[in-house]
């Protein structure tokens, strides 16, 4: 998994509660990404980061926020979880500048009841 860990790996929460997912990398890669994966859809980009405190929205960013205060950590927060946010969330990193290949973490399975 290219030195990427995600926590928690599984979470069950209730509608309306805040949830934070953590992505941690050990190799100081500049670019980090959060995706969600749902049946019938390809991976969809939520947010990405191109450096500490530098983030931008992806195609499905509504209801999500991110923070990156250290190179190694990229946090995804659901401010008030909804059932439509039940999904599998993947973190990814880009290895080298100009090398667009992304490597993925093991995923977090989130169930919002």
């Amino acid at each position: 998994d290219a030195g990427i860990t995600q926590s928690p790996r599984h979470k069950v929460t209730e509608t309306g509660t805040p949830v934070t997912l953590r992505c941690h990398q050990t190799e100081n890669h500049r670019y980090m990404y959060w995706y969600r994966q749902d049946p019938g859809h390809g991976l969809r980009l939520i947010h990405y980061s191109y450096g500490v405190k530098d983030t931008d929205k992806g195609e499905v960013s509504d209801g999500y926020s991110v923070s990156r205060s250290k190179t190694e950590d990229f946090l995804l927060t659901l401010e008030s979880a909804t059932s439509s946010q039940t999904s599998v969330y993947f973190c990814a990193i880009s290895v080298l500048a100009g090398q667009e290949t992304q490597y993925f973490g093991p995923g977090t399975r989130l169930l919002v009841l």
Binding site: D1, Y31, Y33, Q37, P39, G40, H41, G42, L43, R44, L45, Y48, Y50, G58, V88, F90, S94, E100, T101, Q102, Y103, F104, G105, P106, G107, R109
Partner: protein, 113 residues
Amino acid sequence: GESVGLHLPTLSVQEGDNSIINCAYSNSASDYFIWYKQESGKGPQFIIDIRSNMDKRQGQRVTVLLNKTVKHLSLQIAATQPGDSAVYFCAEHVGDSSYKLIFGSGTRLLVRP
């Protein structure tokens, strides 16, 4: 394991046969393409990539073919093994300054013993 895609197209092959998985991409400006493999309950795993200035690239037991005229990408797996059973999807990078990838929804490969 989880359902990566409940309605994915499925390719069923006999162990030892060759597999060909296809992908149509959307943007003629895409300049880089990646194939990923995803096993149940795991994150996507990089298999092979190809740049738009090439039409073929080979790896170990895998070959990627790129036809820019019809915007088509294929992954060939030689001597398919049970461990190749997974969901395979392609990703394209559009040739701008962004590091974002666009992912296909995937094909499920089943290998019959």
